[in-house]
């Protein structure tokens, strides 16, 4: 292999590794209390484990290459008892207690009484989110989790079909969604920003296309978002979007999707009332714009094979564009 080729290969390899440094979905860039604890745990384990490994290597080198005096000290019975039995027992016990504390930490934080509950249901291959406030009022959304900064949030994790696992690496550890069970995950965002999460348990062919965005925002922004998101769909439609709305209602889309404020009240697919306002489409598979809507409607079985939506090839190109513009306008 020539030098140039080695350089190219190495360069490409480094680029791939660097892509992993994108903090959008990195557990090394915690933005939540629970993720912070996990991050500290990781570094404590890695650094302490590193020191112990180096220590063992040094002692092994001494045992092999060291002078007679050093070696006799190593074979001393007191040293063996101390470094071989007492030290591991103490260190492992401490780590165990520390691990228990970190593991138990989530369940220990009580949610604030005025807090909002969020039910997240994993479905092949997207996330159904239901926000329930203290008074029991609820509204549905999909594929995007909004949380207020500084407030512990209860997530009730369930599944509609197979095992999924909810993982928002910048906010908390992962927790499985198990058929027939409700698992509770608590998370507390510490800084504003948009991060990404994904299903962390293989759940069928399109498992890799089952992601989501987490939007952590200030209390005020969050309340404003809840007020808007819980309301009906916007009406400010231009001519083309209005035609798109008619197409949506006439083509039977409402059999599976809900758009609050219209007669579309389907419960099979994601709620589209404010779909245009989300950060992505199809569970963080496509960017959110009219072209992506059009591509998804007519070609969804190629984008995400075996998803539940039928292929819709009944629209002319202008009709498809109108429909896409309407959906994009649902901010």
């Amino acid at each position: 292999m020539s030098k140039g080729r080695i350089r190219t290969t190495a360069g490409a390899g480094i680029l791939v590794l660097l892509a992993g440094c994108n903090p959008e979905q990195s557990a090394f860039a915690p933005a939540g209390v629970e993720a912070e604890r996990i991050n500290v745990l990781f570094w404590v384990m890695t650094i302490a484990g590193g020191f112990i490994l180096v220590g063992v290597l040094v002692l092994s080198a001494v045992a092999i290459y060291g002078g007679e005096t050093l070696r006799s000290q190593l074979s001393n019975e007191r040293f063996i008892t101390g470094a071989g039995i007492v030290f591991p027992a103490v260190v492992l016990s401490m780590l165990l207690v520390y691990g228990f504390v970190v593991l138990g930490a989530g369940a220990g934080t009580p949610p604030s009484p005025d807090g909002i509950r969020i039910a997240i249901k994993g479905e092949q291959w997207w996330w159904r989110l239901t926000y329930v406030d203290a008074d029991g009022n609820s509204f549905e959304s999909a594929n995007e989790l909004h949380v207020p900064v500084g407030q512990p949030i209860y997530l009730e994790l369930t599944t509609a079909d197979v095992l999924h696992s909810f993982w928002a690496p910048r906010l908390a550890g992962k927790l499985d969604m198990i058929p027939g069970r409700t698992n509770i995950l608590t998370l507390t965002a510490t800084e504003e920003g948009v991060s990404r999460g994904q299903c962390a348990e293989y759940c069928g062919g399109a498992h890799a296309l089952m992601s989501f965005h987490v939007v952590a925002q200030t209390q005020e922004d969050f309340q404003a978002w809840v007020a808007k998101e819980s309301g009906p769909a916007v009406k400010n439609e231009n001519g083309r979007a209005a035609r798109g709305r008619q197409l949506f209602l006439n083509a039977g889309c409402g059999g599976c999707h809900t758009i609050r404020g219209t007669r579309a009240a389907g419960a099979i697919g994601p709620d589209l009332t404010h779909v245009g306002g989300r950060h992505s489409l199809a569970a963080a598979t496509l960017s959110n714009n009219a072209q992506a809507f059009a591509a998804w409607i007519s070609n969804n079985q190629h984008i995400k094979p075996e998803n539940k939506m039928p292929p819709y090839n009944i629209f002319t190109r202008p009709e498809l564009e109108d429909l896409a513009l309407y959906l994009e306008s649902l901010k």
Binding site: P232, L249, N250, A251, G252, T262, R263, P311, N313, I314
Partner: protein
Amino acid sequence: MVEDKTVWARPWTRLRRLGPAMLVIVEVMIVGAAVFIVSGVYNVAASRDHLSITNWLLTVVRDRSIANAASGISVPDLTDEGLADLGAEHYRGACATCHGVPGQAANPVYQSMLPAPPDLIFAYEDYNSRELFWIIYHGLKFTGMPAWAGEGRSDEVWSLVAFLDRLRREGADSYTDSERPRVLPLELEAAGVSIQPLESCVRCHGDARSLPVSDRVPRLHGQSEPYLIRAIENYWDGTRQSGIMEPIAHRMSIEENSALARYYAKLSPIRAGSSGDPAAVLRGQRLARDGLAEGGIPPCSSCHEGDNPQFPRLAGQSAAYLRGQLEVWRKGLRDRSGYGAIMSVVAKRLNDAQVQDVSAFYASQPPGLRLKPEVPVP
């Protein structure tokens, strides 16, 4: 010479003599066959019957082949009158040309074919139901009997077997007596539609005064015009499969298609008495109106009771027809058009009971059923 003699004397060399002798015989036969084939001595004329040995050979090969191929086929209930009625009308429109009216002297043109199309009143003397099904579905090589035109539509073939079964049980009069007198609508003749395509429609689907001939046939009365036009277009270009409808669509011009669709769309829907099991109707209503979200089944009403004329109206159709079409989708057919592809996904999520229930519900409803117009939620 001396050497030869010693060789001749050995016993195994007699066998060796047999080899070249047989080689000579085979060569003579090959050359003879080649001369026979190339010379044109053999007479292929239909006017001259086969040699009796050829006849015997062809008959044995044919019947053994049919019996073998048909052995695994399971036979549905053939005493179903709706099935036999549809079969009789398809026979009248398509098969009678060659096979003639059962029990009557056949057209001399087709009787001059070799083999001549048999009078099917005797069909059951030679074959059983599954063998007749196989013959109609797959056709017979070198006989003029075509395979079924609708790819995969074995369900339609059984209507003809049921018809033949009734012919056996009730005789030829059951066929000749069932022909209905028809008065063709004058406005269509005025609109330039020739008699034949209209006759093809009315024969099974009925007209202003009559219902479809069978519960296996959809009621076109008051169906939406764009949907009817699209149906014929889909049969015409092979998007939709049917051994009965494809040949009929093939003969229709675009203008005739529009005129006939307009004619049927304008007819007032006929309420045909249909009372299903009330419990099934109720279950079907729930499925049709609410769907079943956990099964991924949207409400039927979200498409079929709206204002969009591209979706067929199901209310008032017969349960047998609705069930039959859902079965066609579940078998993986009828999914080549954009609309069919959508329905295909939904139909495959229905189980047998749900197909029964939802068909019973729409059959029990008055034609013209619609959802209430949209009331915006404040």
